[in-house]
Amino acid sequence: MNDFGTFLFRAHAGFLAALILAPLIPGVINRTKAVFAGRQGPPLLQLYYDLFKLLRKGTVYSRTTSWVFRAAPVVTLSACIGVLMLIPCTGASPALISFQGDIILFAYFFGIARFFTVSAALDTGSSFEGMGASREVLYAALAEPAFLLSLSALACLNSKISLSGIFIASTEHPFANIAVIALVAVTLVIVLLTENCRVPADDPNTHLELTMIHEVMVLDYSGPDFAYILYASALKLWAFASIVVAVALPLRTGSFITDSLIFIFGILAGAVVVGIIESTMARFRLDKIPKLLIAAAALSATALLLTLTRG
Amino acid sequence: MNLPDSIMIFLILTNLSLLASSRLNACIKTVAIQGIIVGFLPLIATKCPLTIYSYLLAILIITVKGILFPYLLRYTLRSVDVRREIEPFIGYGASIIIGVIALIMSFWLCRHITFPEPILSYTAPAAAFFTIFCGLFLIVSRVKALTQVIGYVVFENGIYMFGSAMLIEQSFLVELGIILDVFVVVFIMGIMMFHISRAFDHIDTNKLGESEKKG
């Protein structure tokens, strides 16, 4: 009973930490980019300010839109929160909810969010948003197999098919198979960048709608709705980052606090890496991105084969 | 050389003359002669003593094949008023060469067939096969409807010769039926030739097909 209580406490603590700390990541990324660009850049907590400001604003709706447009932010945010319940948020404890095959649900919760975001984009009737939606669905469709494959490779490596199981098992034998882990990590990073609309797949900072993907889809949002969307993307980034960190940094001391700190540090470090990538790389041409994703899938397929043939 | 053999050779000669002949009138005459000789065949080709039926049958065949058919054909020829030439697809010379080859084949064939029963003579089945072949050849290689009827009559003669050559005794009723059928066939064909000549202004069956294709 005591164990169970500890579990409950730790899981909730991790979950809450994720909810609270997630908006920090974009701040870190932007700060990194600013440093690379030699600017001072926005404060680390900029997203918190933005959210706070947006929540208190009124909203502007297009006359074309219907309930789908209004429902999308709510659905997206709740799906992202749902996903957070599935991951061991601070790495040091199991997730709130964990079951065999929850990796699938992880991917599909983002699916429902995407379905609504895309529909909302089409709901505005704007051709730019339609364009973004059309690209988004293609990249997501290609990212999904890559993501599932990389998680399958991990599942195969650890003989566990739940996220928590994989994470805990991977800490038991850290770096048991470095080649596999490296391949999976690379795949996951590519998927993370694509799914979260970062360079080289997308450029969140561009001001030309024609070249944007995710940002263009939410052009018409304002006020609390936009706050929900921004928060949801921060949560999504956290979710993916925590998986990457769990794979790439399976270091555990056994102490909950230390482990949590290591984990959060890892995530922030990941944000820095993303910032570095964004500063040093240009955005890919649109038709190159599918190739990148297919390459990523191939990497994790290799990882899987390596694991399987290992015996 | 015995009687059956000489009759058979005569029949073979009539066939060859049919192949070579270019005049319809001559053809009809030849067929009439062939019919009369064929009519006599059952009288010499028999295992058992002749009965009144045998004579009756012979008379009947001679009447039909020797008198009725030629009359009918010539009547048709006159009334449809066509050109008296035969108009072959295959020329007369070539026809005779093919005929000779067929004749050789028939004889060769009959040498190599085992007959289960005594037969009239070894020439007889060969002559019968040859006659059948000639009849069919006339039908296929000549343009006019009238020649086709002639060919059919020759073909029937050939079959009849085969029966005689094998010394087959049919019951009278069946023979009667066969003669009747053959007669009606030729009769109907004759009637139809009238219609054809009315409908087409020619009795060239080769051209019939073209009208069908158009339609």
Binding site: G58, S62, R63, S134, L149, A155, P224, P290 | T205
Partner: protein, 663 residues
């Protein structure tokens, strides 16, 4: 069981009534509906009993036709197909009653109701038939009546063409079904199912049965490349008929295949692999082609191909599980496949009915002419949204649950570390992952193009409203089913246990044990999904309580600085799918008519694109043309010349006699 026969008789009688009702189509429809529901009521008892207890019942009467017996039976597998079939066809019929009501068809729709009843009769008889000949009779009854339903509007040329393609491919598949039963009955001398001995695996006979079943049942089910009739027939049929055909009839093909599997012994490895290859190609290509279509019903038809592919993947991994002696993988695979079949029935019927409502109201099925209907037809729109989410396999709807079970089987398969099984499992995971993504793309497009944005052409937007209750209630009910199954958690497994045991040949207890690992995940999914819904409600309320949430400004859509945007500038169906058609251009071969803008003063121009079926374009049409050419060539032998004809006779005699002589 006698009651079941009475039910069939009732349906038969009720189907004949419409032939005599004349112009009164309402009576016609009502009598068929009454027939379907009475059959449903009468079959309820045996169905439920055998589903829960795994019991089997049989009854058989002799028929004077050789090899035929009127043998019908009920076992969990039959029940599993029969129940959804009847419920859904009842709903389709109710919908159809209103759908056909306004249809002033020259022939009156009485005849179509007759065929509707016969179609339902054929399908349900096929699921309970226990004799090969009876099965084929039911099978052809199904094919014929659906043919007449498809060609209901046969004054249109494309309908006739579709009808021809459909009936020819139906005939083709029957030939192979023929073969299946003939091989199975070869040793026993009877075509009763119970007399079939289980064929040993690896023998030529079992291989032949497997291949024949794959082709015969597969072409009805719509395995690529035998699917060509689907995208032709579904768009031209009345919507309640397309939903019946696409939603239910093609599943009878899978039923036949599963039933055949029960007569075959242990599956060799290549069976499972073949099924997975077929499932993967049908799934991926099906959804790609669906995405490239611009006609809603063609799109839905291709998506049926895709979903059949997913179900086949489940069955394939199940077979592999049996081969590799991994009962958990096998049972989960079969369970996933079966569940997906039923799920697809529900949401495909739902989507077709919604599409029908749209066509009924606007008279338009081309995506590029529709748009903005959400405000005019909110009920239909919501139902279509639910159907779309469900068919894309998104939680909390039922589509996800079925795919999840297959995923679970595949994940277990990977962790077994048995190489062939793991490799196939990887293939399954990639495939379903890709399919899931593409399906989301495809259906967000369909949903978006029809219901969202502004109307793309003027005449589709006026006087449009939600159809009457007879049409909306079935749609709403089906949407509720979608959500209910998605949230029902592990209780589903109780229903799946018995049918799976029939297919896999394992005992009921073994199946229950094999399904155990899925029990907690399903509960958790249901919990999380409900939680998500509650969370959504909470977030919505939260958003309402924000200080200035009441301040809403209505403006035009943000136009990026362009001054005069109009409805025709919206992203269209073809532009939405362009990235995907371009990426997979090798298969899709989308043909586009590009505007000629090279001239100095380009005139009025237009762009259009279409994606014809790859196999029809490059396989079936050329072979039909080839056969025609051959026959035209040989046909010259019949030139109308009597001399030649007689020559044929002579040559035949000579050849035969010569052959005889020299023998």
């Amino acid at each position: 069981m006698k009651l079941l026969i009475a039910g069939f008789a009732l349906l038969l009688v009720c189907s004949f009534i419409p032939l005599f009702t004349g112009r009164n189509t309402k009576t016609a429809a009502l009598s068929v509906i009454a027939g379907i529901f009475s059959l449903l009521l009468l079959s309820l008892n045996p169905c439920i009993e055998s589903l829960f207890t795994g019991g089997t019942f049989e009854i058989s009467y002799r028929m004077s036709i050789p090899f035929a017996n009127f043998a019908i039976g009920m076992d969990p597998l039959s029940a599993f197909f029969l129940l959804p079939l009847l419920v859904l066809s009842g709903l389709c019929a109710i919908y159809g009653m209103a759908y056909m009501d306004g249809n002033k068809h020259v022939y009156g729709s009485g005849r179509s109701w007759f065929f509707f009843g016969m179609l339902v009769l054929g399908m349900s008889l096929a699921t309970v038939a226990r004799n090969g000949l009876l099965f084929i009779i039911a099978w052809e009854l199904m094919a014929l009546s659906s043919f007449f339903l498809v060609t209901f509007d046969h004054h249109r040329k494309e309908v006739r063409k579709a009808g021809w393609i459909y009936i020819v491919s139906a005939h083709f598949c029957t030939a192979f079904v023929f073969l299946v039963f003939v091989i199975l009955g070869r040793n026993s001398g009877s075509l009763d199912f119970e007399s079939f001995q289980v064929l040993k695996s690896g023998t030529a006979a079992s291989t032949a049965v497997f291949i024949a079943a794959l082709i015969g049942f597969g072409s009805k089910a719509g395995f690529i490349p035998l699917h060509i009739w689907l995208p032709e027939a579904h768009p031209v049929a009345p919507s309640h008929v397309s939903s019946l055909m696409s939603g239910i009839m093609i599943k009878i093909g899978l039923y036949g295949f599963l039933r055949t599997l029960t007569f075959l012994g242990d599956p060799p490895l290549w069976w499972g692999v073949t099924l997975i290859v077929i499932g993967a190609s049908s799934g991926i290509l099906g959804i790609m082609f669906a995405h490239a279509q611009h006609d809603i019903k063609r799109l839905l038809a291709y998506s049926s191909v895709e979903n059949i592919g997913i179900a086949t993947l489940g069955i394939g991994i199940g077979l592999l599980g049996i081969t590799c002696n991994e009962p958990v993988v096998a049972i989960l695979g079969f369970a996933g496949g079966l569940l997906h079949i039923v799920n697809h029935c529900i949401f495909k019927v739902l989507l077709f009915l919604c599409a029908g409502a749209v066509i009924h109201e606007t008279g338009e099925g081309r995506l590029d002419r529709l748009g903005g209907l959400m405000k005019k037809m909110p009920r239909t729109g919501i139902c279509f949204a639910i159907g779309s989410a469900a068919i894309s396999g998104l939680p909390p709807f039922n589509g996800f649950i079925g795919e999840f079970l297959i995923f679970l089987a595949a994940l277990f398969g990977i962790t077994t570390m048995i190489l062939p099984l793991s490799l196939c499992a990887i293939a399954v995971i990639i495939t379903i992952g890709l399919i899931g993504g593409l399906a989301t793309a495809c259906f967000s497009k369909a949903f978006g193009m029809i219901f969202l944005g502004e109307p793309r052409s003027e005449n589709t937007a006026v006087h449009v409203e939600d159809p009457g209750y007879a049409m909306t209630v079935p749609m709403i009910l089906l949407s509720v089913f979608c959500l209910m199954i998605g949230l029902s958690g592990s209780s589903l497994l109780i229903l799946l246990c018995a049918p799976v045991s029939v297919i896999s040949g394992l005992s009921l207890e073994a199946c229950a044990a094999g399904l155990k690992p899925a029990s907690y995940p399903l509960t958790a999914i249901a919990m999380l999904s409900s939680l998500m819904i509650i969370l959504g409600v909470f977030l919505y309320t939260l958003r309402r309580t924000m200080p200035r949430s009441h301040l809403e400004t209505k403006v035009p859509t943000w136009d990026c600085g362009y001054a005069r945007p109009n409805a025709r500038m919206q992203y269209s169906s073809s532009s939405f799918s362009q990235p995907i058609t371009q990426l997979f251009a090798f298969f899709l071969r989308t043909k586009s008519k590009n505007p000629d803008t090279a001239a100095a003063f380009p005139g009025k121009n237009s762009f259009s694109s279409e994606t014809p079926d790859f196999w029809q374009e490059y396989l079936f049409r050329p072979s039909v043309i080839l056969i025609n050419q051959i026959s035209a060539f040989i046909g010259k032998a019949d030139n109308g010349r009597i001399h030649v004809y007689i020559l044929y006779i002579i040559v035949t005699v000579l050849i035969l006699l010569g052959f005889h002589f020299f023998k």
